[in-house]
Homo-oligomer: 445 residues x 2
């Protein structure tokens, strides 16, 4: 395997900057992997080798002209196919949008360009970023799901077909595929990254996330995407200036965590449970195990009300005109979504802020919450992307969460540990995540 594929993003950027390597060389290394593995993994909804090499060449020429380069200059990034792009189709995982493009780039595409990064191609997504699975398979076992809805983004990074990828999460669409595919998946706090020009499935729940090989790699991608955007009124002013230094330096204290096994612990297979128990034991100085607060049950109910109602609102045209082209998952969600009353929806929205006020009390005594990222390893079969039961609460609360590929479950398949933090505390949060990443390596040495 080419050395390029094992380089960190920082190393790649540095090598380009020192002219030790070109963007064309980097892209060729990834193209070689795609040629070899895409047939089985099917991570891409759109990939054009020629277009990618043209853009890499442009980046190299620009660099050679002596102009100042951005923080990701020449680095290819895979982008989930719900993110609007002009020069590539944006099909959103539905045959209804076959071959269609957006008329403008999403804000985050422009931010990628500003950073010097190259949009590599579009990665396969579950139907409209919901549950209907794409053709993508799990790189570790092609008979298993990669998880969803950011299936292609996670699978592309896991199979070294891309160094970095952008995804999104409304339920568990970043953390779950990251866990199943064995990569780092990070969903920043709600409001840090603009969704302008990205398929809207639920205004209150949709959040952009990123995939990479390490905490530092995902931090480098997230950092350039974080920006207040008046076209996404949910975005806030947030300074990610010290995000990378926080990751490099880690916390100044020995962090303390709560581990929530959650009510879904019983869903987890034996091997995976053993792996989690081993993790807890290894970090026993730092971890206390607690029962989940009782209101988490309400959050699951409320998450569903908001999610399904918003799907029914946002895809009512598809449902009216092309119902038979929608998956059974989407049809059933829209059918439910049409039934909720305004009173139920109002309650579900009202509880968002109130529950967060209770939730954040955890951070008076602890530096983070740990949970399984998913109920065990990727399940067999490609007809479902698995469940998001370990993820919905944090999507609803809008907290930062990250899946770290630190464990192995049955058949030595990858399994993620999820760290959850305090809203808007992403800089420090990633420092803590990086600490866990480093300490775990010690235990496994």
């Amino acid at each position: 395997m080419s050395e390029i594929l094992n380089d960190s993003v920082e190393e790649l950027v540095k090598k380009i900057s020192l002219s030790k390597i070109t963007s064309v060389e980097i892209c060729n290394a990834y193209i070689e992997r795609i040629n070899k593995f895409e047939k089985e993994v099917k991570a891409w909804a759109f990939f054009d080798k020629k277009l990618l090499l043209e853009k890499a060449k442009e980046a190299d020429d620009y660099k050679n002209s002596g102009k100042p380069t951005g923080p990701l200059h020449g680095i290819p990034v895979a982008v989930k196919d719900i993110v609007g792009t002009i020069e590539m189709p944006t099909e959103c995982g539905t045959p209804i949008r076959k071959g269609k493009s957006y008329s403008q780039n999403a804000e985050i595409i422009d931010l990628l360009h500003s950073s010097g990064a190259i949009v590599m191609g579009k990665t396969a997504t579950s139907e409209l970023a919901y549950l209907g699975p794409p053709k993508t398979t799990n790189p570790h076992d092609n008979s298993r799901t990669p998880g969803g809805s950011s299936s292609g983004s996670a699978a592309a990074v896991a199979s070294f077909m891309a160094p970095l990828a952008i995804g999104s999460q409304t339920g568990g669409s970043v953390i779950r595929p990251a866990s199943f595919c064995g990569v780092v998946g990070y969903k920043p706090s709600y409001g840090l990254i603009s969704r302008n020009g990205v398929l809207k499935t639920s205004e209150k729940l949709d959040q952009i996330g990123v995939f990479g090989k390490s905490v530092e790699d995902v931090a480098r991608l997230a950092k350039i995407l974080i920006k207040k955007d008046s076209f996404d009124p949910a975005t806030i002013y947030f300074s990610a200036d010290n995000m990378i230094s926080s990751v490099k330096e880690g916390p100044l204290y020995e962090p303390k965590f709560i581990f929530y096994k959650t009510d879904f612990w019983k869903m987890i297979d034996k091997k995976s449970k053993e792996a989690f128990e081993y993790f807890i034991k290894s970090f026993k100085k730092n971890i206390e195990i607690f029962d989940t607060p009782s209101y988490f049950k309400d959050i699951h109910k409320y998450h569903q009300i908001i999610h399904e109602t918003d799907l029914a609102n946002n895809f009512s045209d598809y449902y009216k005109k092309s119902k038979n082209k929608l998956s059974k998952y989407m049809q059933s969600a829209i059918k439910n979504g049409n039934k909720y009353s305004g009173k139920e929806y109002a309650e579900a929205i009202d509880f968002m802020k109130r529950s967060y006020e209770s939730y954040k009390e955890v951070f008076e005594d602890y530096h983070g919450i740990l949970t399984p990222s998913s109920p065990g390893v990727a399940p067999k079969g490609l007809k479902s992307t698995g469940t998001a039961e370990f993820n919905k609460v944090w999507s609803y609360l809008g907290t930062p969460c990250i899946s770290l590929p630190l464990l192995q479950g049955e058949n030595n398949l990858p399994l993620g540990i999820q760290l959850v933090g305090e809203k808007y505390d992403d800089n420090r949060f990633l420092g803590v995540a990086s600490w866990i990443e480093k300490e775990s390596k010690k235990f496994n040495e």
Copy 2:
């Protein structure tokens, strides 16, 4: 009329501090007015002379002990009867709560106490702060409505039965009664004042407001109420430190305004129209007249969906158990509120932030929006509190708004001009309001 009644809040506070006057003397001056006018005006839901004088005596003793005093030490403040108080009943304008108290003080009651202010009594409110009118009459003409739902608060200040009062606005419940009664009514930006311990009618729309005789007086009351409160998750950190200096100094520039006659201009009587036209003419250097943006119509629709759904949610127990004790207004609102779908409610919430993004563009070129506070003067009769058509948009958007009693309509009844500002810009906003107040005096001299 006692000199005390004409003193500004600043003067009263100064005189108490210099021992030129006592809190007991101030309260006695207001008690005299209450003895004389309450029979006709019926502004109070609860008033106990003895209790008030006890508290005034306590304030005087405290001051004489030499301890440091707060910014409103010894000043009596009337409080709308939806604000929870332990030592006085909190009936919320409904026979269902006859004689009932809250088990704890609202956050703003504690803040009043901290400032040294005295809770004078509880003022009459429309039924559950909605449209069912209380017994209160308009002090300028007892056959007319004082407006609602903060009817007693506005009427008490207008008839010199209280120097300051607290109210609340969900549709137009501060601005409308201020206009009808001829006092200043100020509703700060959504999120500045905690609603913890105040009757909840609509989480997204309920906002606390204040009444007084001048912009500076209301600013002094608002300032001590503005505080982040974790029990009202909608509250934000906001510094009102320079609120009073901003009012005193006014803007550093000649302000420019948009005047929206709005789609409801046709509802206004001829005399009131003439008064508004005279005002516009007097300020012609500063005012440009515009049509209201087309999305204001949507806001009216969405405001109604949120308001009625939330009423149906919050008062479902009353509706189930004591329907016949609810007014026809409330019954009809709850009936509507039970009918909206989750999809409609979701749309109505979604549009709040989006419409604000459009709205705030006004402030790139202008320093405020002016509109009539109400469709003319207080209407005849006590069976309705008038309409909130000129107010709902700003309640929905959560912007600061203030009614200034600068005009007279038919029968020389008072008529307010409403100034609306940019969200969270309340300090500068009140400076601009104070500028209009001062300039108007010049025109009328």
